[in-house]
């Protein structure tokens, strides 16, 4: 295991955290859309809240995919082909979602595109967690690294609860984002911020269930393990703390909107940290531990990882610069003037 390979393990985790933090809230808004968007005005505010930024947020996913392909190609090949139907459902979701907002603006029947926006957000929000659960719990692989199980073999209590955890976390992020962006005093802001309380509790509860399932149904007798125990514990502990604080922000006052949002986002980072600490040094756990795909077995050559490091050193600051620039331009609550455009 070279230092460069470990660096890329960390970097991919960072990019995944970036994806969770950024696209998580707009996927959450997409799933909340039919429930919070009770009238045309509210729907318009919700669309406008993510409109300028969702596309850029989604690129973090493509970056994570590209980086995984470049740095650990066998892990990319195994996970994407192994989770075939699930990935295809995610893909269909992302395709529908990408065209929904744009098509809706011009379409005669806007209801259809509201619906595809919802479904297109729900599928990835739910399925990413299921995939992560499988990677951690272990899947049957052969010597070529190909998944030998079935689609339904991917759906165990633990992996499903991981899916629910991802979804609830994103809903929480989404509710916080809407509270932060909706006009002060609007019904939309009030109902979104009221959701923070139950969603926060639900996320914590699901997290506890997932942890219990991990220790009772996954760990005993399987090849799954916790790679870096103390680090995993720290991330799990921090997640709980951060979420308790986020719930403590309450559901009413608008002065806590920003802090609640930041805390939820910190929760996402903790979850990705927990995933990475648990997996290390594996990338994909196989039922037969000898066949697990590890950092050492999957890492690209030093030439590639070195080139990728140079690319990242130039590219990541640029990307962060664009994000900060544009988020600042669109900072603040949505005004009637914004909606007119």
């Amino acid at each position: 295991m070279s230092a460069l390979a470990i660096l890329w393990f960390v970097l991919i985790a960072v990019v995944m955290a970036g994806y969770f933090v950024l696209d998580g809230f707009d996927l959450g808004v997409g799933v909340l859309y039919p429930f919070l968007g009770k009238n045309e005005q509210d729907k318009a505010i919700m669309r406008r809240a993510i409109g300028p930024v969702w596309d850029g947020n989604e690129v973090w996913l493509l970056t994570a995919g590209g980086a995984l392909f470049a740095a650990f190609a066998p892990a990319y090949a195994t996970s994407f082909s192994g989770f075939y139907l699930a990935i295809m459902l995610v893909l269909m979701g992302l395709i529908l979602r990408a065209v929904s907002l744009e098509f809706r603006a011009y379409a005669d029947n806007k209801g259809i595109w509201d619906w595809t926006f919802f479904v297109g957000s729900l599928l990835p929000a739910l399925l990413f967690g299921v995939a992560v659960g499988n990677v951690m719990a272990g899947i049957p692989l052969n010597a070529n690294g190909d998944y030998t199980g079935t689609f339904f073999g991917l759906l165990t209590p633990f992996t499903l609860i991981c899916g629910v955890l991802g979804l609830v976390q994103m809903l929480f992020q989404g509710a916080c984002w809407v509270s932060l962006k909706a006009p002060l005093g609007s019904d939309l802001r009030a109902s979104a911020s009221k959701l923070r309380y139950p969603l926060g509790i639900a996320a914590l509860l699901v997290f506890v269930i997932a942890t219990v399932l991990w220790f009772t149904t996954v760990l005993p007798g399987s090849s799954a393990e916790i790679g870096l125990t103390s680090l995993a514990f720290i991330f799990a502990f921090m997640y709980v703390i951060v979420m308790v604080l986020a719930i403590g922000m309450g559901s009413g006052s608008s002065s806590c909107d920003l802090l609640a949002f930041i805390l939820t986002e910190a929760g996402c980072v903790c979850l990705i940290g927990l995933m990475a600490a648990t997996l290390f040094p594996n990338l994909i756990v196989a039922t037969d531990p000898a066949l697990s795909i590890t950092i050492a077995s999957a890492a690209g050559s030093d030439v590639t990882l070195g080139a990728m490091t140079v690319i990242a050193v130039i590219g990541v600051p640029l990307v962060l610069f664009y994000h900060v620039l544009v988020y600042r331009k669109f900072a603040g609550r949505i005004t009637p003037e914004d909606l007119a455009h």
Binding site: R48, G51, P52, V53, D55, G56, V59, L62, T63, G65, G66, A67, L68, F69, A70, A71, A73, P74, Y76, A77, T78, F80, S81, G82, Y84, L85, I87, M88, L91, M92, L94, I95, L96, A98, V99, F103, Y106, A107, N144, G145, D146, Y147, G300, S301, V303, T304, M308, I311, A312, G315, L318, V319, Y322, H323, V326, K329, F330, E337, D338, H341
Partner: protein, 454 residues
Amino acid sequence: MEVFSDPVVLARLQFAATALFHFLFVPLSVGFGLIMAILQTKAAKSGDVHDVALARFWLRIFTVTFAVGVATGITMEFSFGTNWADYSRFVGDIFGAPLAAEALFAFFLESVFLGVLLFGRNRVSQRFYTVSAWLVWGGSCLSALWIIIANSWMQTPAGYEVVETAAGSKAVMTNFFEAAFNPSTIQRYLHVVMALLIMGAFVAIAIAAYYKLKNRDDIFASKLLRVGVITAIATTVLMLPAAHMQAVAVVENQPAKLAAMEGQYETGPVELSLIGWVDESAQKTYAISIPGGTSFLADFDFTTEYPGLNDFPVDEQPEGVNFIFQSYHLMVAMFGLIALVVLLALLVMFDKLQGKKWVLRILQFGWIAPILAIEFGWVVAEFGRQPWIVYGELKTADAISQSVSATQLLITLALFIIVYVIIYVVWAKIVLKTVKAGPSVYLPEEQAKAGEEA
């Protein structure tokens, strides 16, 4: 049928279908993007109400097209892992880096600043807005560069060595710059980007011609025509050296592809056919052609000999020679039409063909030539590379995902076709509706009227 039970055929069919569909929208994004940035710059400079309305009108067409390009592009990035796992394992060390770089350097640029164009009119300064328009277009050109780097490496691999590992052989990068700027990257990039820009210009010309035919939106039609014609002339002229360089790159690096393109079975000077037919079973090509013409273009000598298909082992010859031959010659024929349409558009711009409605009709449908040329070009490049997925190193048949069954591929192929057809129909309706409504809806007085009605 056998076709529907062979995973290799199905995986190829799915890639071809999704790539060709995506490749309808890439030219529109890159091509429309340049026109969009030019129109936006003009509008910002002059402040003229018509310039502003035209820029906003074009932005609408651009953004809805761009959204489809983004949506169908995700499929391509995922497909290497989902459908081509063994390919990904073999080339990951080389192929992944350009994809990651594409996301980092191009996709972010495009998507982040597209948000500004869509929603930022009241939030940012006009200068910031105009710069954003150029950044979005620049991002799409960078995106094309990285993906061409990846594709070119499959055609003319360089900067790597193949090593044997416990899990099979794989390509390992030895030099990043040799791999990225392999023998066909630059040629292919110029060739493809010129084609994309021609397509964008032709759509601008078509919309202008439509307004002129209907005797409406005269000011807009003339403005749009001018931008379209100037862009089309520049790109069509630049296409000549770009295409020549690309052809020479094929001659030098992919002899079997060249042989298939001209239907040449035995070693000898390569003909330059205008039109013809390859009888694959008899291994004969019937064509109207200039003997040694292609040899002359490649080497300035009519007698330079190049290998024919039979110089390659049977299992290393491209399949469907006639299909490749026809695609190649149709692409070239389409370029002839493109040149003709550009000439007509130029005459219309200078008011030399007043009252000749048929000319406007040709301009209205002129865009069919570049989009067909683009799709045929893809077919020549990718089918001509067969049976290799990485030329000379890995066969397509050895590159699929072994864990994905034919049934799964068939289901997802059907799903893609259904979803893509729906997306295409909706997209086309929206674009036609926008064009019919015209740029005048963005004029201040029209906006005021619409405001009163609402």
